[in-house]
């Protein structure tokens, strides 16, 4: 663990990733202290300063009702990160167990579980989430639910592939010979060998979840105003291009910075852990 952190901090690119992610995470946690206008995350109106470009008062300009964009972006990071953590905290274990048992047990279990996974995987990810949000009320909880439902099959597929090749390894045979139970072999013997790939995928997925969630709210199917969300901020601002460019450019760059940071770390982890699919 310690060795891994040292390697991460030595490489300039992964160092950049660590810095970007730290910035995003810290500003989300301490938003109340960093944001110049903390109350602007809600339904505040300030018509004296509405729709202004970047100034020394509002570093990223103000929106159509005069709220400080910089403050709103910082609070939007909070929503994105919470969503990402919750989605991965549910989707990863579910997908891992499905893939693990399908891959190790084989036979009918494998056929049923993997065909089920295929069904989910054959609807383009965003389309499934959009369809679910179409019938659900657009709230943060439901957005998390929709993204989780589309996310677990990817872990199932990843772990399934590893488990299927591990099942032929000598150590599994050895465990079977001494009479270890299926559950013991799956969880204690095979699972540890899947962990590097799972951890790498989770880091890269943090960025993807942020992308998908912001895409949903971009279409008006995610978190609703006045709660600040990067996707809905871009959607709202896009109607006022090119004059009020700051309305779209800054929230767009905010997404780019957060996702880029997670991707840089994920890439470095993949190289360190040697966890290619």
């Amino acid at each position: 663990m310690k060795r891994m952190i040292i390697i991460l901090l030595r490489n300039p690119l992964s160092l950049l990733g660590v810095i970007l992610v730290s910035l995003v995470v810290l500003s989300a946690i301490f938003a109340d202290f960093i944001a110049p206008f903390p109350d602007h995350r809600g339904a505040v109106v300030d018509f004296v300063h509405f729709n202004q470009g970047p100034t020394s008062r509002n570093y990223m300009g103000t929106d159509l009702v005069g709220r400080d964009l910089f403050s709103r972006i910082i609070y939007a990071f909070r929503i994105s990160l919470i969503l990402g953590v919750v989605v991965l905290a549910i989707a990863t274990p579910v997908g891992t167990f499905v893939g693990l048992f399908a891959g190790y047990l084989g036979g009918k279990v494998e056929f049923i579980l993997m065909r089920l996974t295929d069904v989910f995987l054959s609807i383009p990810p965003l389309v499934l989430a959009i369809a679910m949000m179409g019938v659900l009320e657009p709230t943060l909880m439901n957005a998390m639910l929709a993204v989780t439902v589309m996310w677990w099959p990817w872990y199932a597929r990843l772990v399934y592939n590893i488990a299927r090749s591990e099942r032929e390894e000598g150590y599994v045979l050895a465990a079977e010979v001494i009479g270890a139970s299926n559950i013991h072999i799956a969880l204690r013997e095979i699972l540890p060998n899947c962990l590097p790939a799972i951890i790498t995928k989770m880091t890269l997925d943090m960025g993807f979840v942020i992308i998908i969630a912001s895409s949903l709210s971009f279409l008006g199917l995610g978190v609703q105003p006045p709660t600040p969300d990067l996707g809905s901020m871009v959607a709202e601002g896009a109607r006022y291009l090119p004059d009020s460019w700051w309305l779209t450019v800054f929230p767009g760059l905010a997404i780019l910075i957060a996702v880029f940071g997670f991707n840089l770390i994920g890439d470095a982890l993949r190289e360190i852990l040697g966890a290619d699919q």
């Binding site: 690119l13 494998e110 056929f111 993997m114 065909r115 089920l116 295929d118 069904v119 989910f120 054959s122 609807i123 383009p124 990810p125 965003l126 389309v127 499934l128 959009i130 369809a131 679910m132 949000m133 179409g134 019938v135 592939n161 960025g207 992308i211 998908i212 912001s214 895409s215 971009f218 279409l219 008006g220 199917l221 996707g231 871009v234 959607a235 896009a238 291009l241 090119p242 460019w245 779209t248 450019v249 767009g252 997404i255 780019l256 996702v259 880029f260 991707n263 840089l264 890439d267 290619d276």
Partner: protein
Amino acid sequence: MLPVLHLLARRLGISLIVLVGVSMLIFGIARVIPGDPARIALGPNATVEQVTNLREELHLNDSIVVQYGYFLADLLKGELGISLYTNRPVTTDIAQFLPATLELVIFAGILMVGIGLPLGIASARYRGRWPDHVIRLVSLLGVSAPSFVWAVILMLLFAFYLPIFPIAGRIADTYEITRVTGFLLIDTLLAGNFSAFGDALRHIILPAFALAVSGIGQAARLTRANMVETYDKPYIEMAHAFGFSARRIANKFAFKPSMIPSLTIIGLDFAAMLGNAFLVEAVFAWPGLSRYGVAVILRKDLNAIIGTVLIISATFLIVNLIVDLMIALLNPRIRYSQRGST
């Protein structure tokens, strides 16, 4: 050739099972919606009698299994019901809007392969030197933002600040093109109207590129990773020893085996683009299926939602089938043995 046909039949069978599964899933999602579909369809002014009649007509009083049976029977007749949004059969709507989306996605797919693969090849060939670093950084940036962000940025740069490309739509209103295939780039050529073709081409470039950016990044990253792996194989060393040029080794010996894992992911990226088309079409006011999809979703138009998702999934399965076939043709080991269930 026979094993390939066998493979095709097997994959086709699995795809059909999966498609039935998809229809169940979507049907299930659409039926757990709170509220009465008949009431939603008729609006708040309908009488109780009208609602009761429509419930009877839509088989809403039967169990969900029976309802699904009716739905499947209609589907086999090629009927997907009436859209509440346009008041037309859903199949008519889809036939009208699908070509625009397919044209956009296919064009973006060509950009993805045409730009992403060469970038990946160059990156692997100059591994560890500056072109490699630049390409890796750019392609990582490419996958780090949703396509609507790229769409907005490209629009700002190349439609507003440098007015090279049009801002929205598929073609200028002044052109009247008879619809043959629904693909404007083809229809304009069939009509022999080259200025209309040029105009359609100018319209498609920005949205297609916005849609392709993350796919280009993905393709480049993947191709690089696979080629770097191939470069370490002994037969590449032998090719060096035989004195083949670096370019020939890159393009011939290292590229082909590296393509096989890349192709699967490219198929998945194509699927992602079918979804991301929802975002890009919204920015560029592209009159495609995705814009229709968002419209019907916001109106909770169930028939249209089910139809749209089904047709997108079917398209996706067809693409994957083609990808699998290409892999089988490229890889002799798979060509002559059975590919596993992956």
